[in-house]
């Protein structure tokens, strides 16, 4: 299979142990942090809320509630622009003087302590799914699809394989790596619970061969549970759902479909750990591990961050920016979104903040396509990116569709290798917007 090998730059934050972000003065909980219907705020302004209280209720099946990630007082609702460009209502919570948990106690509550892998038979599948739904779990790998939807059993389409995704193929990001190193037990326990809920017959935890230590850590934690740990070749985008199912199961997810269509469910390692926390400890998804990295940041770190903290709080905790910092990327540099200001709240699906410098983001001037075909060589979905991009540019949607524009997942491999510096991904996105509706 194809793909690219951008410089990994994982060394910046790889060895940094997970650190707990000091409780910020204020968090802003976005009411839409997932794919699906937005939540509805349940509190009036100036209501006291405790850590873990529901702040927004899920509306509809494909939705997930949001919870207070600190104790404090709610403020008046406002609107924030999330990294993906959506303007979303947010509920601010001003921190109370006294916080029930902080520092080490908070880490232990979220990821530490014991995570039994035996005696899980007493958890009924429905109970697990309910707990996951109430905890507001969404995919922590980035797409933020509500987890309970994935785990709900469906007679027509039984789930055979549960894949736990620890590939983390984006450069710079090490949040999943840090989690696998420091907290393999909740990942394993969560994987077993998800397996019970979904009724899967096999569980495979996947990682890449640049993370062998993480694989070893998981193997030890998974001993005797029947979970297999699989080490895949390092490449971008190995961690994409479609790439993962091909690499591990040798089966392709149909275009426009879900892994469920081939009897598989893919959960990120962070989602697995949060599943264990939700089911075993009854705690909602209020915190996540976030990598702060890049040459533009003074000290790269892996942080345990309350959902809703601003990226500015996160940057301050890492010693601030260097003057050459030029681009803030929510996520990794291949698929992450730039943010124009650091005053953006961290969402459940955020995996990191990569701060790039001027020298790193400087792009050569765009020249004409010489049809060298390198984009075709690297496209992991077997597309012809330059044709789709040029068709989109010329507004020839029929041609773009003939070249399967909708199959593109915008991984960025094509634009990464393009010798002519053509913004292929941007043009393909433009084409998707221009597609006739329906």
């Amino acid at each position: 299979m194809r793909g690219v090998h951008p410089p990994e730059r994982k060394d910046l934050a790889e060895r940094a142990p997970i650190e707990v972000l000091p409780t910020p003065a204020e968090v802003r909980i976005a009411l839409l942090q997932h794919l699906g219907a937005p939540c509805e705020a349940v509190h009036k302004p100036r209501t006291d809320v405790a850590l873990g209280d529901v702040v927004g209720e899920a509306k509809g099946f494909v939705s997930a509630p949001v919870h207070a990630s600190i104790s404090g007082t709610t403020g008046r609702m406002s609107v924030a622009t999330l990294p993906n460009g959506r303007h979303v209502a947010v509920v601010p919570i001003r921190a109370a003087e006294e916080q029930p948990l902080s520092d080490r106690a908070l880490f232990d509550d979220v990821l530490g302590g014991e995570w039994p892998t035996a005696g899980l038979e007493q958890c009924e599948p429905e109970q697990i799914v309910d707990a996951v739904r109430e905890a507001g779990l969404v995919g922590l790998g980035g797409a933020a699809f509500p987890t309970h939807v994935k785990l709900t059993r469906n007679e027509d389409r039984p789930i055979r394989t549960l894949l736990i995704n620890g590939c983390e193929c984006e450069p710079y990001l090490t949040a999943d790596y840090a989690l696998m190193m420091e907290a393999p037990k909740p990942i394993v326990a969560g994987a077993l619970l998800a397996q019970r809920a979904a009724g899967a017959s096999e569980v495979i935890i996947c990682t890449e061969d640049n993370k062998r230590e993480a694989a070893e850590s998981l193997r030890q934690a998974a001993e005797g549970t029947g979970i297999e740990v699989r080490v895949l070749k390092t490449k971008y985008p190995q961690g994409g759902e479609k790439q993962l199912t091909v690499a591990v199961l040798g089966r392709e997810v149909p275009t426009g479909g879900l892994p469920l269509d081939i009897g598989a469910v893919v959960l990120n390692v962070g989602t697995a750990a949060a599943t264990a926390r939700a089911v075993m400890r009854g705690k909602p998804l209020t915190h996540r591990v976030l990598t702060v990295s890049g040459a533009g940041i003074r000290q790269a770190k892996n942080l345990l961050v309350p959902v809703g903290a601003s990226y500015r709080d996160v940057v301050d905790c890492c010693g601030g920016l260097i003057p050459e910092a030029a681009r803030f990327v929510a996520g990794g540099p291949m698929m992450g979104f730039t943010i124009g200001s650091l005053d953006v709240p961290v969402t459940k699906g955020a995996s990191g903040l990569t701060v790039l410098t001027q020298a790193e983001v400087r792009k050569a001037e765009e020249t004409t396509c010489v049809r060298c075909g390198r984009c075709v060589d690297v496209c992991p979905l077997n597309l012809v990116p330059t044709k789709i991009a040029m068709a989109s540019k010329a507004n020839d949607m029929e041609l773009a569709q003939r070249h399967h524009i909708t199959a593109c997942m915008e991984c960025g491999c094509c634009a990464y290798v393009c010798p002519a510096s053509i913004p292929l991904v941007q043009l393909i996105r433009l084409g998707k917007v221009r597609l006739p509706k329906g």
């Binding site: 690219v4 479609k242 060298c372 390198r374 012809v384």
Partner: protein, 359 residues
């Protein structure tokens, strides 16, 4: 959104934001790119690949090669500048494509071509081959081959088979006809009943050895004689992915098969292997047909393109009036590139999207 956002009022944050605000930009992903890889870099890679071929040409043809290739490169650069100026576009000679066109055109000409042919061929290559279509990336036909076809048809005598031969040179190789010309003549004479099979064998004696053909110690166009030099440079390009291996593989495969068939049917005086190592089959396969702009994008398309070039070139060698057919084979296949691209759209991972197909 990038710069307009109000920053926090406290002093430290303001100082910091003043530093960061002007520099921060939003942009679409991906945010990093393989900066070392540029069009210019690819073109210089082709020149590196051409180096052994040029070196061999200079060894065999001495100053003739130096003058011919130098003149073509120089004229191409001048023509590129000229046409950019006429189109009121910024000059594009620094992308390196004009140098590559000039080098390939020069290498495809005989040592004896007079200077005005090199100049006219180069101007036509850049002008009619490239500039009229809109410049690099938009041309349909291989510019060097357009230029060569133009001079080939305009100056039939100066570029015909006899132009390669002279007995007044210190260079040994040029006192003999090119191997393909000999083979062509023998086959024609044999078919016409002018000579017997025995005569044919005697006449083919001088080219029966594969080794000189492989090393290049024979007469021919400047760059085509040495299969060895072409293979070294060509394999380098394929390994660097500056040329796609599917194209030369296709050319050689179909060339071997079809030439073998022609040999069996007695249509040619050469065996399949002789056909592959003689003439510019290999040079064309590795350096001319692989021009990315005028060859297909998909792996399957490239292979089919290569097969087509191989088939056409053997057909031209056997049935046309010319001893060699690379140039016309490549130009004809160039015309099919858009079709090949359309016919070989790869199946995406996961299959085509379910959507109502229009008839």
């Amino acid at each position: 959104m990038a710069e307009g956002k109000a920053e926090k009022p406290d002093a430290a944050a303001t100082a910091e934001s003043k530093q960061e605000a002007p520099a921060v930009r939003v942009a679409p992903s991906p945010h990093i790119s393989k900066t070392a890889l540029t069009t210019r870099w690819m073109m210089s890679d082709v020149l590196v690949g051409l180096a052994p071929v040029v070196a061999m040409a200079v060894v065999l043809f001495r100053w003739y090669a130096v003058v011919q290739i130098g003149l073509c490169v120089l004229t191409c650069l001048v023509a590129e500048t000229l046409f950019c100026w006429m189109r009121r576009r910024p000059t594009s000679i620094d992308d390196g494509s004009a140098v590559v066109t000039g080098a390939i055109l020069g290498l495809s000409l005989p040592w004896s071509a007079p200077w005005h042919i090199a100049v006219i061929g180069s101007v036509v290559a850049i002008g009619l081959g490239k500039a009229v279509f809109g410049g690099l990336g938009y041309n349909i036909f291989n510019p060097a081959m357009v230029g060569r076809a133009f001079v080939m048809l305009s100056f039939a005598r100066e570029l015909g088979a006899s132009a390669y031969v002279t007995d007044r040179s210190q260079l040994d190789v040029v006192t003999q006809a090119t191997p393909l010309t000999i083979a062509k003549k023998v086959a024609a004479d044999l078919a016409a009943g002018a000579i017997t099979v025995g005569d044919a064998q005697v006449q083919m004696e001088s080219t029966r050895q594969l080794w000189p053909l492989f090393l290049g110690n024979v007469n021919g166009s400047l760059g085509e004689t040495s299969a060895l030099a072409v293979l070294i440079g060509g394999l380098y390009l394929c390994l660097r992915r500056s040329a796609s291996w599917e194209i030369p593989a296709g050319v050689i495969l179909s060339g071997l098969v079809l030439a073998g068939a022609a040999d069996r049917l007695g249509l040619t005086a050469f065996t399949a292997l002789h056909h592959v190592v003689s003439g510019s089959l290999l040079f064309g396969a590795f350096f001319i047909a692989t021009d990315p702009v005028t060859s297909p994008l998909t792996a399957r398309g490239k292979f089919l393109f290569g097969l087509g070039v191989g088939v056409l070139l053997v057909l031209l060698r056997v049935f046309s009036g010319y001893p060699e057919g690379v140039m016309f084979a490549v130009l004809l296949m160039n015309a099919t590139t858009p079709l090949l691209n359309r016919w070989t759209i790869p199946r995406p991972v996961g299959g085509p999207a379910p959507q109502p197909e229009k008839a």
